[in-house]
Symmetry: C2
DNA sequence: TAGATTGTTAATCGATTAACAATC
DNA sequence: TAGATTGTTAATCGATTAACAATC
């Protein structure tokens, strides 16, 4: 990847991607910047500018070729490089995510789950085994895993992170509500469902 | 609510709130802007500016009173006005969310689930019954519900939205990957898990 | 007092929107 | 050709950061 594209642009590219999938379902071959802009309630020149970051280009009077644009976004977003991950926390959310087969379509492979509840160890969820957390560092090495999807309850999240400090885990997709303290070598992406709900409900209150 | 606080500020306020919960757990009575800023890797003057939107104020040399600040954020974010919601889609994710009791702490009450699978109708999940989707408009009226949490698979999402067009549902918290087409009278908040994953994995790729 | 921290203004930076020539 | 759409530059807008006086 040559130049870093800003966060916000990447976010919009993921939305354009969803729209393109829809276009393909409807057998549309081309799409215009203003079509996309209208759906997302943004400016059409922004759509064109975002697309200028890719290696695709449009045609005057017809717009962009749907398939081309989709492929181009996928290349930029990294669909092409599959990533392995573990789910830590085999509770409701962890199990739901383990059953979410759609991950694979986006290059994310969940290889196993981890928990500290003896009753859950050994269970198989959607063909993935649940191991005790203590085994994680070892298995991460063996299976070449650098990312965990963290779905333990808030109060345990930091504990897990501390335990993994010297493992080879580098990326944490954090579904717990906790703000994690991590060292320089670990990157966190916060999903923060409750926070998002509050933002949503504030936005549309009076 | 007098003045609208920008989206981004609200987002950060939700993060400050999580941090304050942590402070309370550790029996800390005050917190400084730079403490919060360091945790979130942002500028300390931004923290102070965000807080200036609230009715709280800090003390020179000591910082902010944790309890006060927490209450003030909660007032602004609307914890105080509970909201009713239905979950539409009693699949893995829908059931996981139905079991997530933490919602209640943030003013969100899930009253029931809906699905179109006859095998699921009548099931009880964490004390909430699963009804057939066709009953939704009627029950929404009866129970005074204006929000749905949409957890059906992508291809069905638009269908559900179209069906609810003339119901009293006004807010959709969309967990499906679909970009929804809605009228002026319905507000959508997209959770878009796969999109977020892609953004995350782009951000930290080389 | 000296030092630490807030609250706020001004400066900088980046993102969005508007405008329009080029093109098919 | 006339009309529609892209690609791109310039103008606007908003958000972040820096700086610092006021305060305890």
């Amino acid at each position: 990847m040559e130049k870093k594209i800003p966060d916000k642009v990447i976010h919009r590219l993921t939305l354009y991607h969803s729209i393109l999938l829809e276009c393909i379902k409807n057998s549309e071959e081309t799409v215009t910047s203003s079509f996309i802009a209208n759906l997302l309630k943004i400016d059409d020149s922004q759509v064109r500018k975002d697309i200028a970051n890719l290696y695709s280009s449009g045609k005057c009077r017809v717009g962009y070729a749907v398939e081309d644009l989709k492929t181009s976004i996928e290349k930029t977003l990294g669909f092409t490089k599959p990533k392995n991950a573990f789910i830590v926390g085999a509770g409701n959310l962890g199990m739901a995510l383990a059953k979410y087969d759609n991950f694979a379509n986006y290059g994310l492979k969940v290889l196993a789950l981890f928990d500290n509840d003896p009753l859950k160890i050994g269970n198989i969820i959607n063909q993935r085994e649940v191991f005790h957390v203590s085994k994680l560092p070892e298995l991460a090495k063996e299976l070449n895993v650098e990312m965990i999807i963290l779905t333990v309850p808030g109060p345990y999240a930091q504990e897990v992170v501390d335990f993994l400090k010297n493992s080879q885990i580098k990326y944490i997709w954090n579904f717990s509500p906790a703000v994690l303290k991590v060292g320089e070598d670990i990157e966190v992406w916060n999903e923060n469902l409750m926070g998002n709900f509050l933002q949503f409900s504030y936005k549309f209150s009076n």
